[in-house]
Symmetry: C2
Subunit: 251 residues, 2 copies
């Protein structure tokens, strides 16, 4: 079959619209770019509807793609569907997994308050999944978890962790009702390492510039602080997330 | 004085060349973008040669710019000198601080092996400075510390930490001669949290895909591992750096 060679092709135009959050929300679809990420999506409980391949490229034999449509396109068309310089000749159109209603049982949770940088968000999701966190709550102001940069920065972890959009004040209330200790992060909190690891916790991480909203800090059981020994004012939020999540979960 | 309005202006063309490593190496200059970073450079032992301002903008009164030339340009020219979408109307041309010969005395050091992503590198420098690390060694394959993305990701920490380019095998030898314990990072190492905090250490961090080179792992006194409880294969290197640096330094 001839590869699609026109960027005016109706399907190509429809998929390109998935760069925009509004269209992702409307359609329930999102794009996954690159061989490694598409493979991760296929292995996960994610419905991979279409794999778009550059002409001449093949699907690796061991991949299970029985229910996935394969569409060939020219190099130029593939580039149109890509947000990176090296899309590796492969892009998938996937269904957004239904956002689960995360149950706040005894477990470990991360609450994200207005975290706007997609790279930071993706990195936090990757760390949370690696640390065995049960669920990540996206509060108001956060970037979309299905934003291409977020997806790429998770390195596939997005497909393996429960994510929910929710009002954070409500999420904190649910944690408290279920006896889950809630930790905020603040420059005027307790040194984190003075807190023992916890079987169950909720950790609130805040905006890159403004930190966690003061109403949430006020509601938290305790606010944690990572000491700074140099002249920097703070750490990158995804680095702070790693230090705190791994400290609180213990071994 | 009239602002420079032509992107063909010789000085503008010369400064634009500083986007390239070759020209930064040749001239010993680099660009710093945005109000916060320029302020940090002025406060640090960095020679800020020129501040380029968009017409109509002023230098904040409290800044010490006695030895700094101020050049006004049009919006379009400023945009030409910028690598970001929001350069905030201010870009500085700075001299690269002379790379110090880091002395491997008792102290805390971070060794970077082939870390290529400028965002990761900048974030690691920010964390290292915040944690009070004495020096960061850039081994072969690392991005240039004066790359614009690195500078921005450090949030100014680059101006406050000693950085040196050096063969890492040689750096490890120097550490050993000075009784500084050397820790590699590897998926088959010891769980990091089993190691007590250290008054003095050198931590080797490796390439985003390939990790630390096996020759260096072999030379290290011990290799550390961050346990993964989910399905991710690894953590982002700047997140791993944060967890390990803060664990090893202790409180």
């Amino acid at each position: 079959m001839e590869p699609i060679s026109s960027i005016q092709n109706a399907r190509i135009k429809a998929w390109r619209k998935l760069f925009k959050k509004r269209e992702r929300d409307r359609s329930g679809l999102f794009l996954v770019e690159g061989v490694h990420l598409v493979e991760e999506a296929l292995k996960a409980p994610v419905n991979v509807k279409v794999i778009v391949l550059v002409e001449g490229k093949d699907i690796p034999e061991q991949w299970k793609v029985k229910n996935t449509e394969i569409v060939y396109v020219t190099e130029r068309v593939l580039q149109e569907l890509s947000e990176t310089e090296t899309p590796q000749g492969m892009i998938a159109v996937c269904e957004q997994p239904e956002l689960k209603n995360i149950v706040f049982d005894q477990g470990k949770y991360v609450l994200l308050d207005n975290i706007q940088d997609p790279g930071n968000l993706g990195s936090i999701l990757r760390t949370a999944e690696a640390a065995g966190i049960q669920g990540v709550i996206f509060g108001e102001g956060c970037a979309d978890p299905y934003n291409g940069k977020v997806v790429r920065a998770t390195q596939g972890a997005l497909f393996h962790i429960s994510v929910q959009r929710m009002d954070l004040s409500e999420a904190v209330d649910l944690c408290k009702e279920n006896n889950i200790p809630v930790f905020g992060t603040s420059l005027s909190g307790s040194t984190y390492s003075a807190i023992a690891p916890q079987d169950s916790f909720a950790l609130i991480l805040g905006n890159e510039g403004a930190g966690v909203h003061h109403d949430l800090l006020h509601k938290a059981d305790q606010n944690l602080y990572i000491p700074i020994y140099g002249q920097s004012e703070s750490l990158n939020v995804s680095v702070a997330a790693g230090i705190l999540i791994y400290h609180l979960r213990g071994d």
